[in-house]
């Protein structure tokens, strides 16, 4: 970093900015200012992002139980252990099932809500707020409401109460993996939490569709309704849909909070991050295997992001922060 700074200092500042400024001392030098502005961030990025990534790659080749400064090099054994371990590969399967359900349902629900809200003339702000409000809740809070009341396995749970009116026996929503009712609990919780967020994205995109398109379609004899939706609205939303699907996928990949809390005492339904949590920070504190798992997950998500970016021509994705 220091060498580049000196080299940069020797270089004359670009004409564009120097022309507009009468006098410039060292403080006006653009190289100095570049590092002044970006330095704190870059140093932090180096320490808290790059160092952990490097360290975990290093740890993944060592036997590191209960220690983060191991000395026993074991090559790819940690990787073999993780990939040969049914729990870890099973967690990848759990993620696949989860993504296959949650991505299309959230896409459809948030688009549907956006289309409805967009058509409203009265109380539009009210309904938008109602669907958006769950975004304020944390996954932990929603898990608590879902687990302790709505999908409580005993008779006073709301779902079991309602089913009881129709004579259905109590269902153990979370305590029994067969039939896998826990998926209903997990999927509805996430749908409730995140649909409003994506609805806002679709609303913004819907408002950007020029009215002329619909007018032209009407002149051409397209029936309002399904035809205009299929041939105008949907194609116009393609960029947003692609972005939403990618964001949903990455969010699903990082799912942790609701699985951890809803299925806290169970061994089923563990997505990758929960599995990693128990490997590295559980009783065995196996940092080597945990790091190997993190490296595998990182490579997978990089591959998916790059592939999707290539296919869809969409830029870089990230967590929905």
């Amino acid at each position: 970093m220091s060498t580049t700074t000196t080299r940069g200092l020797a270089r004359p500042a670009p004409a564009k900015s120097s022309g507009t400024r009468p006098r410039r001392g060292l403080r006006g030098n653009s190289t100095f200012n570049f590092w002044l502005f970006t330095g704190p961030f870059l140093i932090g990025l180096l320490i808290f992002v790059y160092v952990p990534i490097g360290w975990s790659i290093w740890l993944s080749f060592f036997e590191a139980r209960f220690t983060v400064t191991p000395d026993k090099f074991i090559g790819f054994d940690n990787y073999r252990q993780m990939l040969g371990n049914g729990n870890f590969t099973g967690s990848l399967l759990t993620f696949t099932v989860f993504a296959a359900i949650i991505v299309p349902t959230t896409w459809a629900l948030s688009l549907g809500l956006a289309l409805m809200v967009n058509r409203l003339r009265f109380m539009r702000a009210f309904f938008r707020s109602v669907f958006f409000l769950p975004t304020a809740c944390s996954y932990v809070a929603a898990s608590l409401i879902w687990k302790m009341s709505i999908f409580n396995g005993v008779r006073f749970g709301l779902a079991n109460t309602v089913l009881g009116w129709f004579g259905v026996e109590n269902i153990a929503w979370l305590a029994n993996p067969d039939p896998p009712w826990y998926w209903l609990v997990i999927v509805t919780a996430r749908l409730w939490l995140q649909s409003g967020f994506y609805m806002i994205l679709f609303l913004a995109a819907l408002q950007n569709i020029p009215d002329e398109l619909y007018e032209a379609a009407a002149i051409d004899g397209a029936k309002p309704g399904w035809q205009t939706f299929r041939y105008i609205t949907l194609p116009q939303l393609r960029a947003t849909s692609t972005a939403v699907i990618l964001l949903l996928l990455i969010a699903a990949y990082q799912a942790f909070d609701e699985f951890f809390n809803l299925l806290s005492k169970t061994t089923w339904g563990r997505p990758p991050l929960v599995e990693l949590y128990y490997t590295a920070l559980g009783d065995s504190q196996d940092y080597g295997a945990g790091s190997a798992g993190a490296v595998i997950l990182t490579l997978l998500i990089c591959a998916v992001t790059l592939l999707q970016g290539k296919i869809m021509g969409f830029g870089r994705g990230d967590e929905s922060k």
Binding site: G8, L42, P52, L109, V130, T135, C137, R316, K321
Partner: protein, 291 residues
């Protein structure tokens, strides 16, 4: 519950721009969807203001017979979980996290967008690379690092590692790329350097964008769970989310207490939503798409 909502919305979907669906039908469909979305809030408030026998009773009581306002103080008097401390921790972490991330990432974003430097592109790629690796996936190595620094169970450990968000930096860079150059040039003519122009001209004219990012950052910080769970080994360092999570695994369950605690934990964000929704919506429209 889900299938109903989806069905209700898909009937309306076809009906954009009039025709097919009457506006009465639209309002019925959206009303049903809204009711379903409000059920969890209703359950939360009903349980928070009831007694335990009413919550666990044979029949579903639509509303508590006597609203138990006294429940509000109970989470704070609970000897097993120090909820007041957790609330305080969340407030401190939420505010410092937001202020820190805005400061560090906006400066970097401005530097990358506007200050000419030979290697600026290489630096930018180093930032972009981190977007490919979600921070949640690297929580194991991050924990390893933070624990070697001795930052477990501390505000430092909760706040500092999360400040260097490549994504937020990227958003600020994109925003500053579109910031009108004329304003900065006017500041230069007045003799301000980059630093002075940034604080006196650029920031005061970007408050909307800062507010949008601040709102989203605060919500994410308040609701974060995985990292506080990993760092908060000792109950005194728990945030609200970790405290709520611990209620679910306790031996004895005190229903009205844990629902009241949940309601209290959501309250600050509901206020944020009601009063800052304009910025929030703006922020989401900007950040979500550009991601």
């Amino acid at each position: 519950m889900t299938s109903k909502t989806v069905k209700a919305s898909s009937t309306a979907r076809g009906a954009r721009r009039g025709g097919v669906m009457s506006s009465t039908g639209l309002y019925i469909a959206i009303g049903v969807a809204a009711l379903l979305f409000l059920i969890p809030f209703y359950v939360l408030l009903r349980n928070a203001l009831s007694t335990d026998p009413e919550i666990t009773g044979e029949d579903w009581k639509l509303f508590p017979t006597d609203i138990q306002w006294g429940n509000i103080t109970e989470p704070f008097a609970d000897p097993t979980v120090d909820f007041g401390q957790a609330l305080w921790n969340s407030a401190v972490v939420g505010v410092l996290h937001t202020v820190g991330i805005l400061l560090v990432c906006s400066l970097a974003g401005y530097g990358l967008a506007r200050i000419p430097y030979k290697h600026a592109n290489k630096v930018f790629y180093a930032v972009l690379f981190t977007l490919m690796v979600p921070t949640a996936v690297t929580f194991v190595p991050s924990f390893v690092l933070v624990s070697s620094l001795g930052w477990v169970d501390s505000y430092r450990g909760l706040i500092i590692p999360g400040l260097f968000s490549g994504f937020t930096c990227f958003l600020f860079r994109q925003y500053f790329l579109g910031f009108p150059k004329e304003l900065e040039e006017a500041a230069r003519v007045d003799g301000l350097g980059y630093w002075g122009a940034y604080w006196r001209v650029v920031v005061p004219n970007s408050l909307n964008f800062f507010a949008a990012i601040a709102t989203i950052t605060f919500i994410n910080g308040w609701n974060a769970f995985l990292w506080p769970l990993v760092i908060g080994q000792d109950p005194s360092a728990w945030t609200v989310q970790v405290a709520l999570s611990s209620y679910m695994t306790n031996q004895t369950v005190n229903y009205h207490l844990i629902f009241m605690a949940t309601a209290i934990s959501i309250l600050p964000l509901v206020f944020v939503f009601l009063f800052l929704q304009r910025w929030l919506v703006q922020g989401i429209a900007q950040t979500g798409i550009k991601g």
